[in-house]
Amino acid sequence: MPFVSIEKPLLRGPALRRKGRGPFGIGDRLFKGLALFFAWMILAIAVMIAWQLWKNSALSRRAFGWSFLTGQIWDPVGERFGALPFIFGTLVSSAIALLVAAPMGIGVAVFLAELAPRRVSDACAFLIELLAAIPSVVYGLLGIFVLVPWMRVHLQPWLIRAFGFIPLFRGPAYGVGMLTAGMVLAIMVIPFITTLSREVFMSVPVSLKEAALALGATHWESVRLAVLPYARSGVIGSLFLALGRALGETMAVTMVIGNRPQIAASLLAPGYTMAAVLANEFTEATSDLYVHALIEIGLVLFCITILVNGLGRLILIKTR
């Protein structure tokens, strides 16, 4: 078959006479424009979220100013709003969660990275990621019907008997409370710590570990000397991300924390978090000031989580 006959139809079309680089035809420009439009939308949405939170909390910000953050009274009827109990509750429950989850999560990661054979490690990592996929309302359900009764009947009475002389462990055994919330949060947050830490541990150069072993260190000592210091930033970054997650967690917490806006010394006492009060009271809010006060809580929560997540990402970027 002669070659020329196919060539001609294909090259029909004007040779556009235009110099320069970059997208030429209409198609290129439209495509890039479309993609750019959506990229702009992402920016716009982030900005709008911040702006809407700011705008719709105006009444409350004007009425209370900074004392909103330090006020302890949350009185919808008398229209006095202070968010300190919620801030306290959020920070304390998240702190408990991290205190429990960090050693557990890192421990599991060490086990998976150093001890378990590769296939077991992969399988376990896969399973542990399932913990992250379980919806938080399911955690809450288990919290209400499994953890809270167990706390009320077994753990809390024991804590009161054994450690009741410390203010941290005083008070009636309600079952619900700060400690319970912290424990549920811990389980929810462990997979984040484990997954990231395991990745970091596995990226430690073999030569570093071998150098430690060649000095006569035991396996554990080589982990302590070589792996952990190398992975330190990555692990800390993962802790920040886990913290960010815990701070914003709503459903599981509100189902087990007792939902009482108070600042108490005891871990066994009920409490309230920013996310929980939003979940419970938003639809009940009667006056504009009430709604604005709640939205201001949302704004505070937003700012805290942005800060924590931002720090976490910064630390993680340093490790890459």
Partner: protein
């Protein structure tokens, strides 16, 4: 010297023993959760659960047909709202986005990702519920849709970047415009990864409760159209769980099982699909 060496060996054993214990405990919790929900949920599952509407308070029986349909409807709407923004934004970042603007877009996606889900609910309330003066499926879809964006962006960008440069160059060398090369050669090459990213994203968002509490709100009946409040599985679970009725608690377990299955099957399915792809490469 031997005594100190013995001590070090003991420490080694204890330390690793502890880490193994942590692993066992964590996996134990996972299996406990799965088993407990399955056991209690299964006992309460019945045909009527899937087909009947909720009965009035105090009347035993009834089901959650509307909540199941509601969850599916909300995910459908959320996908149409969030995925185009996320995927096309990711395409921009992967193909055109090496600059400062790209940095800010990525940061914005991260910010949206960090927004607690309840705060996203507040945002959707402010921009949809307030102007419309009603709770609606639309508001719920918007809240969930926005939550889809960050992961869609990140996963799209990541998988597109995995397509080797040589494929892009081979496509351009054939004499086709860049947009055709991206649309018909590069994106199909990355398609499996993109789809699994989307599946994981949808799976995660389908279990969310908080954003729906004051957007979609809830409905004890079927919801018609897009502008009425709508029931969803997660919100039903929450409402029933905190109620004082034993019958509702039973139904909450059943709903939890259904939700758990929905989420876990799509999650595991997506991740298995992703692994298969990497091995085939």
């Amino acid at each position: 010297m031997s005594a100190s060496y013995q001590k070090r060996r003991l420490v080694n054993f204890i330390a690793f023993g502890l880490t193994g214990g942590c692993a066992l405990l964590t996996l134990g919790v996972l299996f406990f959760i799965l088993g407990y929900v399955t056991a209690h949920g299964f006992a309460s599952l019945s045909w009527s659960f899937f087909t009947q509407l909720p009965k009035p308070v105090g009347d035993p029986g009834g089901g959650m047909a509307n909540a199941i349909a509601g969850t599916l409807k909300l995910i459908f709407l959320a996908a149409w709202i969030g995925l185009p923004i996320g995927v096309l934004g990711g395409v921009y970042l992967a193909e055109f986005g090496g600059n400062a603007f790209g940095f800010f877009v990525r940061y914005a996606a991260d910010v949206i990702n960090g927004v607690p889900s309840i705060v996203m609910g507040i945002f959707a309330y402010a921009i949809v519920v307030l102007p419309m003066k009603r709770f609606s499926t639309l508001a719920g879809g918007v809240a969930l849709g926005l939550m889809l964006i960050p992961i869609a962006v990140r996963s799209t960008e990541e998988f597109l970047k995995l397509v080797p440069r040589s494929i892009r160059e081979s496509a351009l060398a054939l004499g086709i415009p860049r947009w055709k090369a991206i649309l018909w050669i590069v994106i199909p090459a990355a398609l499996r990864g993109l789809l699994t990213g989307v599946m994981l994203d949808l799976s995660r968002v389908s279990g969310e409760t908080a954003p729906l509490l004051f957007t979609a709100f809830g409905n004890r009946f079927w919801s018609s159209g897009w502008l009425n409040p709508i029931a969803s599985l997660p919100v039903m679970i929450f409402t029933y769980a905190v109620s004082p009725y034993a019958d509702w608690h039973r139904q909450a377990w059943a709903a939890a099982l259904v939700l758990l299955m929905l989420v876990l099957i799509s999650n595991v399915g997506a991740r298995l699909l992703m692994r298969k792809r990497i091995r085939a490469f």
